[in-house]
Amino acid sequence: MAEKISGSEALMRSLLAEGVDTIFGYPGGAIMPIYDALYDHREEINHILTRHEQGAIHAAQGYARVTGKPGICFATSGPGATNLLTGIADAQIDSTPLVCITGQVTSPLLGTDAFQESDIVGMSMPVTKWNYQITRVEEIAGVVAKAFHVATTGRPGPVLIDIAKDVQFAMAEFEYHKCTKIRSYIPYWPINMEQVEAAAAAINKAKKPFLLIGHGIIISKAEEELKALIEKADIPAAWTLLGNSVLPPEHPLNMGMLGMHGHYGPNIKTNECDLLIAVGMRFDDRVTGKVSSYAKQAKIIHIEIDPSEIHKIIRADYPVLGDAKKVLNKLLPLVNEAKHEEWINEFRACHEIEFEKVIKKDLHKNNGKSTMGEVVRKVYEKTEGKAIVVTDVGQQQMIAARYSGFAQSRSFVTSGGLGTMGFGLPAAVGAQLGQPDRTVVTFVGDGGIQMTIQELGTIAQENIPVKIVILNNHFLGMVRQWQELFFEKRYSFTEIKSPDFVALANSYGISAKRITKSNELDDAVSEMLAHQGPFLLEVFVEKEDNVFPMVPAGSSVSDVILEKPEQ
């Protein structure tokens, strides 16, 4: 008879069989047997103790986004599990593969309001791709295998496995088989060549084609195929927030970012192109603005892996269901070489307008304090676009997206769909562990960092060399901007007092510096980047700077504004 091992040990062996080497987590009563088993595997598995479960899950997301591998996190039952929910919801909407393991009260106590019991399976149901509660030790291997298959294939997403404590102790034989097939789940639908041919014909006919790069390009590793397509057919391209870093900034067909704070040209030209080619994206309202006046003049090709996204927001004339890489590979030979010089020049003309009205001011202000744009651009220049940039949510996020540039893909980590403040600092921890040889810089606001600032403790304990840049405007800047523009400057609870971030970082043993004038910026960024180990740089920026261009909520993308409207 085969050897019997505990459920906890079975979980460890299952995780090892899936190639797991990094786990973010926080122990507690109902997951203690699992942590006890982890103790025997601490040479093979690097467990990072965060300071809060939300920190653990955002770190797992950062790890997943820069590696393409699933992020793993552990939490105990009750509050431990519920603290994961924000990160799970974030990962669901941003298609990030995660496997979350939660401890649960012993199975006889389920449903009795036992100590630290929460119905995490019920609560996480709307925000997980799949979840399951294990109440029999024999289920562990099969469920873990299914979880990894579901999390990482098709449109990726978070899964949660809840394991009752008695199951963690129970003994059973163990055998692990990777899951490659589930009868009820088709991650990759076969590509319909008729759809591809129709899309190719539309591209070949188009005079003013415009391609939108979504997160799906990165997820399916289709960057080269995408470049080949736009170069062959000479198609200008712009990216969604999560499609950032697919194209390097110097690529002649890279027209910038789409959406609410995207670039001027991509928004204006959305409503002037004759063909919109959307690849691996879902027409979020931050991209489309008012849907009823979005690209009405254009035919629309929607290449998308998730059948439920096709026609969900925008009715596609040429839907193509499938993985971006596979579809682009089939599409490429059918697309004719073309030139669209005049059309591309129209984008360039837009860029000149934007440069004069927005970019110049953002990057070259001549008074005392730095602008957010200056700081981001300085980091970009000094890292030669090779750094991984992680952001929080708000003004710094939009500025970081606009003024960074990336030499390689999978380098921009941000909370897109959910817009989770507090994401930046812990996500940077995960990104750094996922790519230990790269420089990881996180831009955070004075508001966002205080939501998860306890993770400075994790950074200090593990000596994770992330570079933290706080763009401090003493406000919840994006909300303040909306109050200024749309609520008659009624600054309702957006002024925020912060601790002395430098002293705080120092108290954790993290080196830190504060600058208050733009002439200190160059040296400070150099010092930060040269520093071995973590470093926090606080930059005082203008209190009431705004992010432009802006498509006001509910407006058409063609009504993008470049400056504050006259009152």
Binding site: G122, M125, S308
Partner: protein, 180 residues
């Protein structure tokens, strides 16, 4: 235009899946008019019949979001015309009222209902049919005071000769094998 649609869902028999499916309706604030779940002709496969009053466009979106659930095999939607539907209703009346005159007896004959059980106190009557029919019978019977009334969810089968799911499962096997 809103009208009545019947959403048929075939799924693995998994705890919690009903919750996953109903969440899709509640998120969009769509009311479920009736819901029936039972094992289908294929062993281990559950079949949900969900009735909603909605626009076809929204029903299409809901069906795709249901199908996206990992443990769902397939979801379809049908108009009433495409289906053969049935519901069952139970009515409790006082036995005294029943024996007092032949009026209730005549209603039972007229509406093709039947008596399930008679006790000294009450009598339980059953009627199958479409909702309008069971409702009409209720109204007629209620002149004599219906003590209790219950109607089942709608069950339905398509006018097709085979279960669409069998066909679909074969297709699914082909796709899953091809993508190995």
């Amino acid at each position: 235009m809103k009208k009545e649609y019947n959403i048929m869902v075939y799924s693995e028999n998994q705890i919690g899946l009903l919750n996953r499916i109903t969440i899709i309706f509640t998120r969009r604030k769509v009311n479920i008019e009736s819901l029936t779940v039972s094992e289908s002709a294929i062993k281990g496969v559950s079949k949900f019949t969900i009735v909603v009053e909605e626009t076809e466009e929204l029903v299409q979106k809901i069906v795709k979001q249901i199908e996206k659930q990992v443990d769902v095999l397939k979801a379809f939607y049908h108009t009433n015309e495409e289906l053969i539907c049935q519901e069952v209703a139970l009515y409790k009346v006082s036995t005294e009222d029943l024996v007092d005159s032949d009026k209730i007896e005549n209603l039972i004959r007229k509406y093709n209902a039947r008596i399930l059980e008679v006790t000294r106190e009450f009598t339980v009557i059953e009627k199958t049919g479409h909702k309008e029919e069971t409702q009409e019978f209720f109204e007629a019977l209620n002149q004599f005071r219906v003590l209790q009334f219950i109607r089942s969810g709608k069950i339905a089968i398509t006018r097709l000769t085979t279960e669409r799911l069998s066909e679909f499962l074969r297709e699914r096997d082909r796709i899953l094998s091809a993508t190995d």
